[in-house]
């Protein structure tokens, strides 16, 4: 155990700042984790995993099934509490006990199942769990919803992401197509995420055209300065939108690659263990 602890500290000092893969000036990561360990019984899902997200970037997270990437993401968004290791947001250590904690800290997650309520309207869904109330007496004592403001805001967030095709903000989410639902979920995350957005397989259930729109939307969110963590199995999508790619294997990060310098087959080879990870990143 003590040896492990020493090891963790060393990694922390070595990797406190990470050079962007493209070799620009070093940037302080907005979210980083050191030495995360999570065991489920005899299974080690996270084995001293590190993680860095730089300001304004889209970071791809790829890894084979069972590599532990979903546990890593769950630890970052508060759904799982790691056994060891630390997570830092804006340089300060954070301890999330629930997704709500992470959300309050400014980390929004777009879950694979989207976490939308199909029978509720688009506007209701955008503000689900953080409804706005009317200012003054009726809002305070009668807890009256400020529906017009929420509708206006919801429309603004959707149109700023180019989802203008949604005409009626009060139509129920179940009447939307898969891509439009994804759009609502992304718009919600972008609207409320003050630090970063985590997106879990956002294009997995979508057709070619709808995937395209979601990718464009992600680039839009990035342009507004909000960094994104993209978990995906879709290599063309990852290589298109990501600035750096975090490759997860056997419970830890084995490489960070620049998509401009490596091919998709290299990435897959590193991810599956067919190719040795590049030297400088062997942590």
């Amino acid at each position: 155990m003590s040896g492990e602890a020493v090891n963790v500290t060393m990694q922390t000092t070595v990797q406190a700042t990470v050079l962007p893969a493209s070799g620009q000036s070093p940037a302080e990561p907005i979210l980083y984790a050191r030495g995360l360990v999570k065991r489920y019984g005899r299974v080690t899902a996270l084995d001293h995993a590190d993680f860095d997200l730089l300001p304004g970037e889209i970071l791809g997270v790829i890894g084979d099934n069972g590599a532990g990437k979903s546990t890593l993401i769950k630890a970052l968004c508060g759904a799982v509490t790691p056994d060891h290791g630390e997570i830092f947001l804006d340089g300060r250590p954070v301890h999330f006990r629930s997704p709500m904690d992470a959300r309050d800290a400014g980390i929004e997650t777009v879950y694979q199942n989207l976490a939308l309520s199909p029978a509720l309207s688009i506007a209701d869904n955008m503000f689900l769990g953080r409804e706005r109330r009317k200012p003054g007496f009726t809002g305070k004592y009668f807890r009256r919803l400020d529906r017009s403001t929420m509708q206006k805001e919801a429309r603004r967030h959707l149109s700023s992401l180019g989802l203008l095709t949604i005409q009626n903000i009060n139509q129920t989410v179940e009447t939307l197509s898969g891509g439009q639902r994804q759009g609502v979920a992304v718009a919600r995350a972008a609207a409320f995420g003050s630090k970063l957005v985590i997106m879990d397989e956002p294009t997995a259930a979508l057709g070619v055209k709808e995937s395209r729109r979601v990718l464009d939307m992600m680039l839009d969110v990035k342009r507004r300065g909000l960094p994104i963590v993209l978990i995906s199995h879709n290599m063309p999508h990852v290589f298109e939108v990501c600035d750096r790619i975090h490759i997860h294997r056997l419970g830890r990060r084995i490489a960070i690659i620049d998509p401009a310098a490596y091919s998709m087959s290299d990435a897959v080879a590193i991810m599956t263990g067919a190719m040795k990870p590049p030297e400088q990143m062997a942590a």
Binding site: Y111, N125, L128, E131, R133, R143, A260, S263, S265, V268
Partner: protein
């Protein structure tokens, strides 16, 4: 699957996606132009779920007005129907809240009777001042609901099983507290007339409107407001619709459920008050059919048993439909059994319609 594009270098949109710029941009809009009449009806009903019960109610009234004539469509008779459905209406409001969360409450009738017995017995027999006896009854009802809610949330038991159990338990408590005795009408009138207050009738022309019916409507307005105009109400719908999504969206679904069951218990206790007003006495044998009748009203009113969809207005209309069909068929001279038959058909049709409307997104 992934290695079709070889060689290093940032990838722009993949080749196969380039043609998308020429694709028909209208595909993303979802207002289909060509809809069959049936599809349009389905869409309309989906957007206005209470339309069906309204249509059935109006049809029923027109039907019986034609069949029975003035005896049915008279202010007195129609106000009688309203009086007859008041108990079901009040308990149905409680049941609606629970069914919206994808639960069911088989104990609503027992809670109602227990509350009425507590109010009447403590005021009349135990000599408790009515100012305390009345809130005591409300408190007991709320507690019963709380127990249901606690078992559903903390023990993770299915609501059907929980309330099947508490139905028996509350029913036994009713017999224990009341010693199987009815508190008679004159005794209540002498000791605690306020308990019969809801039976007071106001006359408008030929119509007799009881305060109990007015209370039911007020209650419906309050619960409608809570469901549709407060954050809590949105959480109730979201919890019933998809609990996992609601949790991920940051809603404390356990607290929401606990509140819903407690509020339902409170409303049932109000129902107990209305019950005393309706029959004048507090009987352990009253309101025997309230459980299933309330579910009937909710279902006919278009609220989905699968949770997340439905409305208070629908439930009131559902209760009125039951009342109109019972009253109308009786006046038409048909045997009681045909009333039950008709109600049964209405339930099946209502659930079938609900299933059909829900299939819209497919």
């Amino acid at each position: 699957m992934t290695s079709t594009v070889e060689g290093p270098g940032r990838q722009g949109p993949a080749d196969f996606e380039r043609v998308l710029t020429e694709a028909d941009a209208a595909v993303a809009s979802f207002d289909e132009d060509e809809k069959t009449l049936l599809k349009r009806v389905q869409h309309f009903l989906h957007e206005h779920p209470t339309a069906v019960p309204f249509i059935v109610l109006v049809t029923g009234i027109l039907l019986f007005s034609a069949l029975v004539g003035d005896r049915f469509f008279a202010p007195f008779n129609l106000s009688l129907v309203l009086q007859q459905v008041t108990i079901i209406g009040v308990v149905g409001i409680a049941q609606t809240l629970i069914i919206l969360t994808a639960g069911i409450d088989l104990s609503v009738g027992a809670i109602m009777v227990l509350a009425s017995i507590m109010m009447a017995r403590s005021a009349v027999i135990w000599g408790v001042p009515v100012e305390i006896a009345f809130p005591l009854g409300l408190l007991v009802g709320t507690l019963c609901g709380f127990v249901n809610g606690a078992l559903v949330t903390y023990m993770r038991l299915p609501p059907f099983i929980v309330t099947l159990g508490t139905w028996s338990i509350f029913g036994a408590l009713v017999l224990w507290v009341s010693r199987s005795e009815t508190i008679r009408q004159p005794d209540i009138a002498a000791e605690a007339p306020i308990l019969q207050f809801t039976g007071t009738a106001l006359s408008f022309g030929g119509a007799r409107l009881t305060l109990g019916s007015i209370l039911m409507i007020l209650l419906a307005v309050v619960i409608w407001y809570i469901l549709n105009r407060t954050p809590f109400g949105r959480h109730v719908y979201a919890t019933g619709d998809d609990p996992e999504a609601a949790r991920l969206a940051g809603i404390n679904t356990d607290r929401t459920l606990l509140a819903v069951y407690s509020i339902a218990g409170f409303i049932c206790a109000i129902g107990g008050w209305v019950l005393i007003g309706r029959i004048g006495a507090a009987s352990p044998l009253a309101g025997q059919t309230a459980n299933l009748d309330s579910i009937t009203a909710v279902v006919i009113g278009g609220t989905s048993l699968f949770g997340g969809r439905g409305s208070i207005v629908g439930t009131l209309v559902g209760a009125l439909i039951v009342g109109v069909f019972r009253n109308g068929l009786a006046l038409y001279g048909l045997d009681n059994l045909w009333q039950e038959f008709a109600i049964g058909v209405l339930i099946i049709v209502a659930v079938t319609l609900d299933q059909w409307i829900r299939r819209i997104s497919a």
